[in-house]
């Protein structure tokens, strides 16, 4: 399997992902404005914030499912938002995305799900594809479930299946929408370890939407804190450093589970 660790990619110092002045809206309803951040190559970037603040919306913009109302997103310094379809396709093909519920194609078996991107975008022969598929499934701990349909798997297994599909083409950038929500604490922990391992082995940049504190502190290198009230990002930085240094009461409340500022909150 090819690993994307060619020298030309490693020595480029430009940020891998850059979001400039992004405004997001559904119709007339603005969800977030003035979002600016960049993600360095190989880092795990967390997008966090309370429920409904627009984390999934931001992710959907980053992968090109929704067009920004304003601003642009760049990958490797190339504009994704204003690019022609061909460039766009080339960029999208370097993505691996894990959706919140796994989003495995329900009419296909697990092996077909993981094998489809390989069949569509590589020149591999069917037996080689089968080989790679069982490798990928083994990586996420689903060896032996090749012929199961998504409806025959548990929620956690579906997520891992979605992960196997996301890494089928050895992507450069992995996007996860709440990878550990709905998992029991132990499985969530294992999933975090899996993300760290994949980052190490694939050398991929990882963007994670999460509001699970344990997982945020365990894997995050850098993070962005979105706030629904002010409709923008109010803090950025390493989550552990934010916990130590950030002054903003909203961020503190979130990172400490409301313990620290609980009294203030009540008196408001």
């Amino acid at each position: 399997m090819p690993m994307q660790q060619t020298t030309e990619q490693l020595d480029s110092s430009a940020p891998h992902i850059e979001v400039r002045d992004l405004t997001m809206a559904y119709g007339d309803r603005v969800v977030l404005t003035d979002i600016n951040f960049s993600v360095r190559r190989g880092e795990i970037f967390i997008i966090m914030g309370g429920s409904g603040c627009g984390k999934s919306t931001l992710l959907r913009h980053m992968v090109g499912l929704i067009r920004p109302a304003k601003g642009e997103i760049l990958y490797n310094g190339v504009s994704f938002t204003d690019s022609d379809p061909r460039t766009r396709d080339a960029i999208v093909r370097r993505f691996g995305i894990l959706y919140q519920g796994g989003a495995l194609w329900s009419s296909m078996t697990l092996a077909e799900n993981v094998g489809l991107p390989l069949a569509e975008f590589t020149l591999l022969r069917p037996d080689e594809i089968r080989e790679i598929v069982s490798l990928k499934l083994a990586m996420v701990g689903l060896k032996g479930f090749e012929d199961f349909y998504p409806s025959e798997l548990s929620g956690g297994m579906r997520k891992r299946g979605g992960l196997a599909r996301a890494i089928a083409l050895d992507p450069e950038i992995l996007f996860f929408d709440e990878p550990t929500s709905g998992l029991d604490p132990l499985s969530a922990r294992l999933f975090d370890d899996l993300i760290l391992e994949l980052r190490a082995s694939l050398g991929a940049t990882v963007v994670v939407v999460s509001h699970e504190l344990a997982s945020i502190f365990a894997i995050g290198d850098d993070s962005l804190f979105l706030d629904a009230g002010s409709r923008t990002a109010i803090a950025q930085g390493n989550p552990r450093e934010l916990l130590e240094k950030c002054e903003d009461p909203r961020v503190r409340r979130f990172l400490t589970r409301g313990k620290e500022t609980a009294r203030e909150a009540k008196s408001v």
Partner: protein
């Protein structure tokens, strides 16, 4: 002072707040309302609802509400309810304004739907052109699967319905024709009716309920569970991958199904002719062959093909339009069936006019 007594449970009816309302209204000097809950028994949300109503109508008249007399728990819940509006748009709107607003929204959403349909059809045509130049991502196995699902598996219900419609047409005609001693023309009536219009129409309506609804439900649930997003972010066009095989399968199968429906409909007619009018199979089908021109027969198959396009487009489009939520899937299926039947019947009317003008 409002005195609260006894037990307040959701199962019991709420005391009419109108009484309190009336009192608040009648006494213009009233400045303050307090509660006394010393006699209060068990309570639940019903009490909360009652108190909230008083507070609302009181504050509308500038009357101060003193909630300190309420049980601790109620005060707590009140603070939760009142503290911060989750959304700030819930202003009271007059009925007239609301009606105008609804009218406006409905008009807008009508145009939006038209626009999105236009968009969808355009993308589908582009995808089809890509397929013709061999660049579309459609799997042959998917096409075969859909062909089987909308072809062979539809034969049972199609046989039943078309045979029965044939017999119904024949019965209706038999009564009239016998009076004129023109019984043999039953074959003309059934044959031409089925071949020109009824065969195609019946097939289309059955396929709308069977296949169109299935398309909408399948694609709708794929949309809801982000499976369609997963395709497009993988660089696979959902239109090419999901819509093309369904559309092509249905369009390929419709003329064949229609042919089959035509035959069974005529068979139904001949069964009635044989039993009620004593016309033999041989003379019935001989007469049919003479009466039904090749043009009207092929015209029927052509109409069926067009209806196939309409049913498939309605099903796939409605599926793609589905919004989040599991009720969306059911709504998509319903909308798909309604759309396809409306479109098919409209098209049938248009065809009647066009064929008439062209003297076919």
């Amino acid at each position: 002072m409002v005195e609260l007594m006894g037990s307040w449970r959701l199962g019991n009816a709420l005391p009419p707040a109108t009484e309190i309302d009336r009192q608040l209204k009648s006494d213009g000097r009233l400045r303050r309302v307090a509660f006394d809950s010393t006699q209060l028994g068990a309570w639940d949300t019903s009490l909360l609802a009652f108190v909230v109503r008083i507070i609302r109508s009181g504050s509308a008249r500038g009357i101060e509400i003193d909630s300190s007399g309420l049980p601790e728990g109620v005060q707590h819940l009140l603070r939760l309810v009142e503290s911060k509006p989750s959304r700030s748009t819930s202003e009271a709107v007059s009925r007239w304004r609301a009606m105008l607003h609804n009218l406006g929204t409905a008009t807008l959403s009508f145009f939006e739907a038209g626009l999105s349909l236009f968009d969808f059809v355009g993308l589908t045509v582009l995808a089809f052109l890509k397929l013709l130049t061999g660049r579309a991502r459609m799997r042959f196995s998917d096409l075969m699967f859909q062909v089987q699902a909308c072809g062979v598996q539809a034969l049972g219900i199609l046989s039943l319905i078309s045979f029965l419609v044939g017999t119904i047409l024949a019965f209706m005609g038999a009564v009239q024709l016998r009076q004129f001693g023109a019984s043999i023309y039953i074959a003309d009536l059934v044959g031409i009716g089925i071949a020109r219009d009824m065969g195609a129409m019946m097939t289309a309506i059955i396929m709308a309920g069977r296949t169109g609804a299935a398309y909408a439900a399948e694609l709708g649930s794929m949309k809801v569970s982000e499976e369609i997003d997963a395709l497009s972010t993988m660089g696979i066009s959902p239109i090419e991958f999901l819509v093309l095989p369904r559309l092509i399968a249905l369009v390929m199968m419709m003329p064949l199904l229609c042919l089959y429906a035509d035959f069974l409909g005529m068979l139904g007619g001949s069964a009635v002719a044989a039993t009620v009018l004593n016309i033999s199979f041989v003379s019935y089908f001989g007469r049919t062959a003479a009466a039904v021109s090749l043009v009207s027969f092929l015209g029927g198959l052509f109409k069926a093909t067009i209806y196939g396009v309409l049913v498939a487009v309605a099903g796939c489009w409605r599926g793609f339009e589905a919004q989040a939520g599991s009720s969306a899937v059911g709504e998509a299926a319903t909308a798909a069936v309604v759309d396809s039947i409306v479109w098919v019947v409209t098209a049938c009317g248009l065809f009647a006019v066009i064929f008439n003008v062209m003297h076919l």
